[in-house]
Amino acid sequence: MNKSLLVTRPNYDSATHYLYRWTEPVIAEAKRKHIPVYDLKEDKATKKTFLSYVQSKHPGFLFLNGHGDAFSVGGHDDEVILDKKIDTGALLDCIMYARSCDSGKVLGNTLVGRGVLAFIGYTRKFIVGTTRSKITKPLEDQLAKLFLEPSNLIATTILKGHSAGEADRRSKQAMLKKFGKMISSIGSFEERFAARWLWSDIRSQVVIGDHNASIHS
């Protein structure tokens, strides 16, 4: 497997802005590890550019951020950049994490059936609790951090060479730890209320395919 990272991170509304900014620590981690990064950000997150990079660079790990549904993942301005029609020959032997709503319902199974080694996604809408006063400063949003830091752990664990299954396990473990704090007496009222949303992310995060797949495979 080609040890490189391809990231898509559109940035055109508040939801994509949160994902856009919270993907930065993952990119920084990859760079620290001298892993080549293909960063398709903002208006570069198009189907044409995505296909071009996938076909020419064959990245071992694809980390997709954006809106989506059970059948597709979107890029800039919600253009569908990945669905079942993709030439999956280009996606052979890779691990994919789609931080996108419903991606684990149908799309993940479709892609794994066509050669993607492991797919991590969600069987329902991915949720992030946000603080209204921090909407323009996502990295300062302590509520959003409770959701997005454990989700970043999926990507950073894979970049460290661990398996997709281990990435899922560590991420869920981190979410559960944060969840425990949120519902405890030390959690703020806001955190206690938002805990049910994090619980939904914990329940809906899935790994499809080879749980042992890693970028060292």
Binding site: R132, G180, W199
Partner: protein, 82 residues
């Protein structure tokens, strides 16, 4: 743990109405300074209430989530992970 849609839960109309009432009641105490980013929307308390009222896709997911949360609280599944 697997998540289930409201349809899969096979609630009676009465049960669904009670669940809806419960979720709406819960939303009355949602803090004003937080919102939820779900799908392509960032929803505050008022918008979230409207989705639940109209029982659309987001409203139904809110109801599913609340039911799961309460069931997992009752069964102790939640505390088993602490």
């Amino acid at each position: 743990m697997t998540d289930q849609t409201l349809d899969q839960l096979k609630l009676t109309e009465e049960e669904k109405n009670k669940l809806k009432e419960l979720v709406l009641a819960r939303l009355t105490v949602m803090p004003h300074d937080i919102s939820i980013s779900i799908g392509d929307k960032n929803l505050d308390k008022k918008a979230l209430t409207e989705h639940v009222e109209s029982e659309d896709e987001i409203g139904n997911q809110m109801m599913e989530m609340e039911l799961e949360f309460l069931q997992d609280l009752a069964s102790g599944a939640i505390y088993g992970h602490e």
